[in-house]
């Protein structure tokens, strides 16, 4: 079933991509199929102890496997991911106009993203998780940059990609260290680890989670990602992608609980993000940005709770994760609907929508109340659990963490109040903004999520059960905790009511103060500047290294190869060296040397080519003398083709070499001598230090038995060392394709000039210093 559902995602993604143009907006219905199926299947595992595992060894030599495991936790997460995904698809049908372009592309990437996310939460091996993690980065990049002609969206998408991809690299490094320290890559077999490797892994994995889950200072990509169409924001930036980091921290936390850095670093990330996010939410006037910053803040709270790491805190984090996924997706949908129906998201320009959009208002109110943590919504017991978890701390930690969490909660209530008042408050109708008619496809998913928010409070027993069984997967001691509809007058309840009161007052005050525009995205511009700078440095390096001078490339290669011969100098055993086996060799070597020297001094190009040919044929003669017929044959043929090639090529060049400067001449001589000496030294060194028996004897024996041939050389080529030959074939093909593309390009350009009435001959670049 796991494989069936995952392949369903692949099929749906491919179908919508191929038939997108014909399907138009209906592609979104196709996209919803795998999501709905996955959500339904997940529902059967939620809250139960059943476990399904499946997988295969991918790279057995490196112990890399593809493993999936469906348990109460991964099923709950996939229920959220796929369920909200299906609702988002329905919502998107209403959001986009019937004539919207690129719907196939949109549906296809959305499905691919959703599938990647499902794979991520089901993964039971760090490598599987990593693979899907990267897949979500790429697909979300495509989704954020969906309006690919809009420079704002493109910059935002690039920023999101660079930050999350950098996090991906960090994650890879972290996982390598983690597997090294713990000895297992299987997530369900995690045991606590300590030591310096574990510490390094903890830091790296936390940073990776922070990039994905938009923790300060990596949060800068999230508000920018609001350039995406609202369905994307509702999906990626509420329920799914930004939760990936949180999920990672949750499942891997048991391993790092005992390292020293885990808790302080996680708390720092989380609390800083929570406060900074909620302040950000109070400063903006774009309703979507307010929600985006609110998400940043909530993610901070989640990371902080998971970093505390007590069973109670983990339980609270899971409860908030569920509640947040539901209400935040709904609120994004509400903002999207307001945007579509009124044409603006600016809370200064909106007012009195509770009259003109009553259903939407009801949903917004319910979900806003849930976000603020007020009954009768799911957000209330979840927030309650969080405050209780923080109360479990002691000493300075209690005051610091508790203070910040309470402060953050006050701000959360405040920005919720400000948002709701801004959009729906005040009874004045908006004179200059007509409200277009209701779109059922948009309203329906909102209502479903709104009902879920209230229904979760009503059926709190079931929700408790579901969240508890999920939490127990990573934190077995959490089975004693529950969510309460009415906790009684506990400290937590009184605190939370004070928080709500404070937040309401603050929010109402701030809602009165008219802020004309939100703050400039300074963090984002710093990130962009860094990214641009990186590009500039890379370009500068590339220009320096890829200078385009063929002789210099050759010289560089030759010098580097030459230095590789240095270690052989000590290996040469002069006693073993002798001049020749038979005299013919001496004559041939003399020919080779004189021809080689001649090749450097000849002034005409054709002459040089011919002299080089003489070198080659003399070498072939040398092979005859040694008794290597295979080499002779090949050498002769190669030489022939090379000579022909030279002749053809020379037709396009001046007949004589250009006169060289003195420096260039000296350099050329030095490089030639260097490579000559290097090859001689390497050969002499290698020949005088044979390491054991020459393998040729074994090879000769096995050639007849296994390779089925008497020619050892060819059996080596096609059987024993066939992999090398395969590599060489690939090299040949690469060279051929290179020749074809380079020369085609040149010829097309020549034809273009021809068409313009100019000279057809493109002067050959003579790159000589």
């Amino acid at each position: 079933m796991i494989w069936f559902l995952l392949s369903l995602f692949v099929v749906a993604s491919a179908t919508t991509a191929v038939f997108g143009a014909r399907l138009g907006r209906n592609a979104l219905w196709v996209a919803a199929i795998p999501m709905a199926a996955t959500a339904l299947w997940s529902l059967t595992f939620v809250g139960s102890d059943d476990v399904v595992e499946s997988g295969f060894a991918w790279v057995p030599g490196l112990d890399v496997s593809v493993l999936f495991r469906i348990d109460a936790l991964s099923a709950l997460l996939s229920l959220l991911v796929a369920g909200i995904g299906a609702l988002v698809c329905v919502y998107a049908v209403g959001y986009f106009s019937a004539s919207a372009a690129g719907m196939g592309r949109f549906a296809s990437t959305l499905t691919a993203f959703s599938g990647a996310m499902v794979g991520l939460v089901w993964a039971d091996s760090v490598w599987t998780l990593f693979m899907f993690w990267e897949l979500t980065s790429i697909t979300s990049f495509l989704l954020v940059g969906f309006k690919n002609t809009d420079p704002v969206a493109r910059t935002a998408a690039r920023r999101a990609l660079v930050i999350t991809a950098a996090g991906g690299l960090t994650l890879l490094a972290g996982f390598v260290l983690f597997v090294d320290a713990s000895g297992t890559a299987v997530l369900s077999e995690i045991t606590p680890i300590t030591g310096s490797t574990a510490t390094a892994a903890a830091v790296l994995i936390l940073i990776a989670a922070a990039t994905k889950s938009a923790q300060v200072p990596f949060h800068v990509w999230l508000p920018g990602a609001m350039a995406a169409p609202t369905p994307v924001s509702a999906y990626l930036h509420s329920a799914t992608m930004v939760k990936a980091g949180v999920i990672l921290v949750a499942v891997i936390a048991p391993a790092f609980q005992e390292t020293e850095v885990w808790k302080p670093l996680g708390l720092t990330f989380g609390l800083a993000t929570m406060i900074w996010g909620s302040i950000g939410a109070l400063r903006h006037v774009d309703a979507k940005l307010i929600l985006a910053w609110g998400t940043v803040s909530q993610l901070g709270l989640l990371i902080a709770l998971l970093a505390i790491g007590t069973p109670k805190a983990t339980f609270a984090a899971m409860s908030i994760l569920v509640a947040h996924a539901v209400f935040k997706a709904a609120l994004f949908m509400v903002v999207g609907e307001v945007d579509v129906r009124t044409g603006t998201r600016n809370i200064n320009e909106l007012s009195g929508l509770r009259r003109s959009m009553p259903v939407t208002f009801a949903v917004a109110l319910v979900c806003g109340v849930s976000m603020a943590g007020i009954p009768p919504t799911l957000g209330f017991p979840a927030k309650e659990a969080a405050i209780e978890a923080v109360q479990g701390l002691a000493g300075a930690e209690l005051w610091l963490v508790g203070g910040l969490v309470i402060g953050g909660s006050v701000l959360t209530v405040a920005y919720t109040t400000r948002l709701l008042l801004g959009m729906f408050g005040s009874s004045e109708p908006m004179p200059d903004r007509p409200v277009s008619p209701v779109r059922p496809a948009m309203t329906t998913p909102e209502v479903v999520l709104g009902l879920a928010t209230v229904g979760g409070f009503v059926a709190l027993g079931w929700v408790t059960d579901v969240v508890r069984t999920a939490t127990v997967v990573v934190s077995p001691k959490a089975e004693v905790y529950s969510l309460y509809r009415w906790p009684g007058f506990t400290d937590a309840f009184i605190t939370s009511m004070l928080v709500v009161a404070g937040g309401l007052v603050l929010g109402a005050l701030l809602a009165r103060r008219v802020v004309l525009s939100g703050p400039a995205a300074r963090g984002a511009s710093i990130a962009d500047a860094l990214i641009d700078g990186l590009g500039r440095v890379a370009r500068r390096i590339a220009r320096r290294v890829q200078h385009g001078s063929l002789p210099l490339y050759l010289a560089t290669t030759v010098v580097v190869l030459g230095t590789a011969a240095v270690p052989f100098v000590g290996e040469i055993d002069t006693d073993q060296l002798y001049w020749w086996d038979n005299r013919a060799e001496a004559v041939l070597v003399l020919m080779i040397v004189s021809a080689a020297i001649a090749a450097t001094t000849v002034g005409s190009r054709l002459g040089a080519a011919l002299v080089l040919g003489a070198v080659g044929f003399s070498v072939a003669g040398l092979f005859v003398a040694i008794g290597a017929p295979d080499l002779v044959l090949t050498q002769l043929l190669v030489e022939t083709v090379i000579v022909v090639g030279f002749v053809l090529g020379l037709g396009r060049l001046a007949t004589r070499f250009p006169t060289a400067t003195r420096l260039w001449f000296v350099g050329r001589v030095a490089v030639s001598l260097l490579i000559g000496a290097a090859v001689a030294v390497a050969l002499a060194g290698a020949a005088s230090s044979p390491s054991g028996e020459p393998p040729i004897l074994d090879l000769a024996e096995s050639a007849v038995d296994e390779g089925g041939g008497n020619n050892v050389v060819n059996v080596i080529l096609t059987d024993t060392r066939a992999l090398d030959t395969l590599g060489e074939v690939i090299v040949l093909m690469t060279v051929a394709v290179g020749i074809l593309t380079l020369t085609r390009k040149r010829r097309t350009r020549a034809n273009a000039t021809d068409a313009g009435g100019g000279d057809t001959r493109v002067p050959e670049a003579e790159a000589v210093g």
Binding site: T655, G709, N710, T718, A736, T743
Partner: protein
């Protein structure tokens, strides 16, 4: 570049072609037991194509086709053994009795070599194509020094 206009060269190349092809085939099949093999056979075929191109008997074309066919053969040959659980690039040796010739032994190495032949031929053709060898031949109609004279001058505008 007088090849095009020299009937002797053209005739000689035409006479050599079948012989060279035979030798290439021989070198390919002999390769397993005697000097030769796919690379040598490919170069021989390449040399034939070079000669024929220079003599104006053919155009260097289909380089990509040769490369693709060779690549597919070699790639298939490499991966195929894995399909029935053998290691990458494993070879199968076949031998059977053929009347007149006696015992004939061959193996999947021959197929591998055929792929190598195609790739080498493809490379040579790509080289000829890249150097625009056929246009050099065309210039042979006006035997002039291509470096100093604008050979397009006489062309109708």
């Amino acid at each position: 570049m007088i090849a095009r206009t020299s009937p002797i060269v053209r005739l000689a190349v035409r006479a050599i072609t079948p012989i060279a092809l035979l030798i290439a085939a021989f070198v390919l099949f002999a390769g397993h037991n005697q000097p030769g093999g796919g690379f040598a056979a490919g170069l021989l075929l390449g040399a034939v194509i070079v000669l024929r191109t220079i003599a104006g008997l053919q155009q260097p074309r289909h380089a990509v086709l040769f490369l693709a066919v060779g690549g597919i053969i070699v790639g298939f040959e490499a991966i195929a053994p894995m399909l029935w659980g053998e290691p990458l690039l494993d070879q199968v040796v076949l031998s059977w009795e053929v009347p007149v010739l006696g015992k004939v032994k061959t193996g999947s190495a021959l197929v591998f070599d055929l792929g190598v032949v195609a790739v080498v031929v493809g490379l040579v053709v790509a080289l000829l194509d890249g150097f625009d060898a056929s246009s050099l031949v065309d210039r042979g109609r006006h035997p002039v020094d291509v470096d100093r004279t604008d050979h397009d001058a006489g062309r109708p505008a």
